[in-house]
Symmetry: C2
Subunit: 157 residues, 2 copies
């Protein structure tokens, strides 16, 4: 984990002061994304079994996914079905055939500042630039190996 590497490189004091001087702030948990092999089965589970409100599916061909949201009041689950041959979740579903938790999305108040500071601290991003996400806002993914095995999406609030 990059945190531990930096701890060695900079010492605790530098890390703590970095957190205090941050030019950006972490915000709410926007959603938990769940990869699903069959969107209609997944929508039916959350709607009929758990009684949740579930949105209609929306295709996002530029992201290679079909998406639908499960509304839990304070946060959402984002159901993701692969769309197209180059879908970024196709490999995940090959390893996890029944589906599973894919990533978490946390809001930040200033995405460029967050990306710059995290990169300076050796947290990698999966793409060079932010892209426009499912909510029409800039998003970027952090490398799971630098985030304790968790794929973290940051979204500009």
């Amino acid at each position: 984990m990059a945190a531990s590497m930096l701890k060695v490189a900079l010492g605790n004091r530098a890390l703590s002061s970095g957190a205090r001087d941050a030019l950006w702030k972490l915000g709410r948990l926007n959603h938990v994304a769940i990869a699903v092999p069959e969107m209609e089965k997944a929508r039916s589970f959350y709607r009929e079994m758990l009684g949740a409100r579930v949105s209609e599916p929306v295709a996002l061909p530029e992201h290679g996914v079909l998406t639908a949201f499960v509304e839990l009041g304070n946060a959402k689950l984002e159901l993701l079905e692969p769309l197209g041959p180059d879908s970024p979740i196709r490999r995940f579903l090959q390893k996890n055939r029944g589906g599973g938790m894919h990533h978490i999305c946390i809001e930040v108040d200033h995405l460029p500042a967050a990306v710059e500071q995290l990169r300076a601290r050796e947290v990698r991003t999966l793409s060079r630039e932010a892209r426009i996400g499912a909510h029409g806002k800039p998003v970027i993914f952090l490398h799971p190996k630098d985030c304790g095995g968790v794929l973290v999406e940051l979204e500009e609030a």
Copy 2:
């Protein structure tokens, strides 16, 4: 997924009417649990790298875990480090050495009614009875094979 099996057994009409007549209601997303091999590295990542508020670790020997919470305002991340030889997350970490998303916890207003209705619809629970969870409230886990590959914890709100 059990939803699809029931669809075959009962037809869409019965499932829809079941959801409307529910004796319990799904509530907020309480937390996303993340299994971590080293609690202090994980706490440091969320605190120093992401600037989040992170609680002190608390040992829950009866659950076989050391826990700490990352406060995101609307919801929490629950960091889980294995505690003791029979920890329920030890096997997960053998498969996912760097850590990873372990389960989601959703609140319900009436846990016994939820369990009874879900069991009647062939959604299995991992234990026969609810237990007292990290927040001092009754919790039960649903079988991930019946929930699209996601380990779902229900907590009485």
